[in-house]
Symmetry: C3
């Protein structure tokens, strides 16, 4: 820890052993308990089995409509949700970024109220501004799933990361005492923030690592979170090491001395992993810049569960849709 | 009335009390009778009930394919039709603007004949040029629904406006003697033209209001239509007042003295509504420029049925699809 | 033949009378036998009947997912495959060109592995580079259908051309001795290459015709293929004459003396067709430049089966999807 840590209330104390009741939205994990998360993981197991069948479809959500509202473009995440909806026989309506009349001067509220008349049961929302998904819950009776808001949260990514760890770490028993090292551009990463929130909720610890310009010091305050600028220190004893994508615009932004120096100091490599727990897993939320933030060989190695992370995307999202919608029937 | 009115043949004399037979297309209301419209409104009631169920889907159009052919972009209208199709279990094929090979020098006819080989049962067509939907009826056996052609017509918008009025005006009995005031850029509005056509067909009266540059004098000839440049005069005794969207390009076109003057003279406000019938409804076809053509407060007031107009979009379009297609079975 | 011909190994010797076993991919016709093609045509007959019913849908591929991966845009071909999928009750996921994270620096392999986690059963792939569909077969367990790779192949177009010929040529018995003349920009045409491959596999002969700059001499080596620069010579005795689209960029490329001269020397006209077999059919893979590479009148004449080619697109693609997928059940 660079500086003293103190608990913050990002996650309110939830009764870990009990569900906190039926969920309507997934914005972040603030009103999700440990029991809720594990129940969702159990549902994910079932969904993963469905996807192993020849006929990868169940009628669980027949007659429901899932609206995707991507104000910020991300075809991959959108299609993952669409696949998750259709595998449960739900209908999908896709509202693309330019689709809204926002560009015509209409207010966000009027836009949503108009879209909402098409009667989706849930909206999957991505927006460049933090807080938009929460705001939308005020204006619709439908459920809202946050598919990424600004730098704030991307909860389904954190869920699939934790689920992948749970299913692949040797002799996994529980998250208590397990440590996740996150390396790279923590500053701009909603994936990092959601992973901090979920991993610590589940009882684990998180080490954040990156150059000073990309490592926000306010995260030091968070309980069970440590910060370091040294990647070997971050990896030491870690049960999983996750490299974050270094976005192209960052590389030329002046926030970094040079790509060569970044690679030298922060690239996750076999040598870095040698410091970690013997069974430690290598993770990456994708898409990768091979040999920038992660060594290409390591990404393809036995330790890597990167493809398994991606593979968990559809079943996790199936479980989220099912969990939020099925109580409405 | 600014000048003398005389009847025009926009709407041929239809036997108001009887259906004029099964309809294949919806281009405008020229071969629709009053009885046909009311039958469609009855079907809309049923569709609205379907959309209130938890499972918002009926198998009515299973095995039918609805093609959307939007040469002019309008995601909102297109998705409303897609929702209407899917809620009845029809398949949807979306042919986007750039989708056609028109840009490669192919003729409109060859484009349609090619698209038509994908065997849609109905095409929902929007085009910047008036008359294109009619022309397409010559080249395909499928049904054609006009989703907006130039400044000429947008019949499903007029249907949902009239339906919304019928369902929400206090103690509604019939359209005879009911007066609709339409305020704003009538010149460029297909919504205005379709509302004139439908409202007068149903027995109502229409007052058009706007600055001289945006109020086409040839509409004076139309039976039961009056024109005025004074918004208070337009609203006087009206049973519904509809503000039309003032498009951004119009604001800087030189057709208007200034936005401030437009707001001062033509904005639909509480003060304007004070002249209207005590039960008068406020309408807007969307998307709104709040506090330009309509006061934001008024749009959110008790009198406003703007959200109900939007809510009528899907059930009206379900009823139109059903009415045109189901006789083919 | 301009120069001596010799057999090439584009098509390996297949046992014409027997199937070469269940097919997983359709990349070109290298491991398809004559019996396989005719079995596919028989399946196409069944699919064409399905499309003549009021309810144009069968449950044959229910629970399967068809992914479309168009790195090069072609809405028409993509929608034809989507229609073919949905008419058999399969789900569709569309990965558009810009959809991939390729533009973010991710490798093609990582992109496919990510997309592949959405568990499509088959990918329909178009790419500007020859060989990409083949390469993708190395990275996924799903089936791959080549929907056009560079100038190399476009097998479903060739299938629908041959199928159209078979169904429409007067008293058709077999392809042996039937001659197809292909006129125009052979150089840049994957349609031409796939037609050469399929037509000669089926036992027919092909004459290629075009200006020297657009007629690649290496095709002379191919067995049962002849080349000529004279359109009348090409048409002489031919059983079908196919005009290829002259792309706009070609017209101004300097590869052609002038459009007027091209029209004069290579346009397929009634006068050209007078040299052909009395029952000869006129074909075009679309979209047409009327009165450039083909006379508009001829395209609309009795001899023309251009609309029938387009009409064969959906049933051929239904048959291809069915043939590749149904054995997996």
């Amino acid at each position: 820890m660079i500086a003293g840590s103190k608990p913050v209330n990002l996650t309110p104390p939830a009764s870990s052993g009990e569900s906190t009741g039926r969920k309507k939205h997934l914005l972040d994990f603030q009103d999700w308990s440990v029991a809720d998360i594990h129940a969702l993981f159990d549902t994910t197991d079932v969904m993963a089995q469905v996807l192993e069948r020849t006929i990868k479809r169940v009628p669980a959500l027949q007659g429901f409509t899932v609206g995707t509202l991507f104000f910020e473009n991300s075809t991959r995440t959108r299609l993952s949700f669409e696949r998750a909806a259709r595998a449960q026989s739900a209908d999908v309506l896709s509202f693309a970024a330019g689709a809204s009349s926002l560009s015509k001067g209409e207010s966000m509220k009027d836009t949503l109220r108009t879209i909402d008349q098409m009667q989706s049961d849930v909206y999957v929302v991505r927006h460049v501004a933090a807080g938009v998904p929460y705001q939308l819950t005020k204006w619709t009776d439908a459920s809202i799933i946050n598919a990424g808001d600004g730098r704030r949260a991307h909860p389904t990514q954190a869920l699939l990361d934790a689920y992948t760890f749970k299913k692949n770490f040797a002799n996994f028993d529980h998250f208590e005492g397990k440590r996740l090292a996150i390396v790279g551009d923590v500053m701009h990463s909603r994936v990092a923030r959601s992973n901090i929130e979920l991993w610590t909720l589940l009882g684990g610890e998180v080490t954040l690592c990156g150059p000073a310009t990309l490592l926000p010091r306010e995260l030091e305050q968070f309980d069970k979170v440590t910060l370091t600028h040294n990647v070997y220190e971050a990896a030491e004893g870690a049960h999983a090491v996750m490299a974050l994508r270094l976005q192209n615009e960052r590389m030329t932004s002046g926030l970094l001395p040079s790509i060569a120096e970044y690679q030298e100091r922060y690239q996750v490599t076999e040598k870095v992993m040698a410091e970690a727990h013997p069974d430690a897993l290598v993770m990456h939320p994708g898409p990768m810049n091979r040999d920038v933030e992660i060594a290409g060989d390591l990404a393809d190695s036995e330790r890597s569960v990167i493809e398994k992370q991606v593979a968990s995307g559809v079943p996790i999202r199936m479980a989220v849709l099912y969990t939020l919608l099925v109580g409405k029937k």
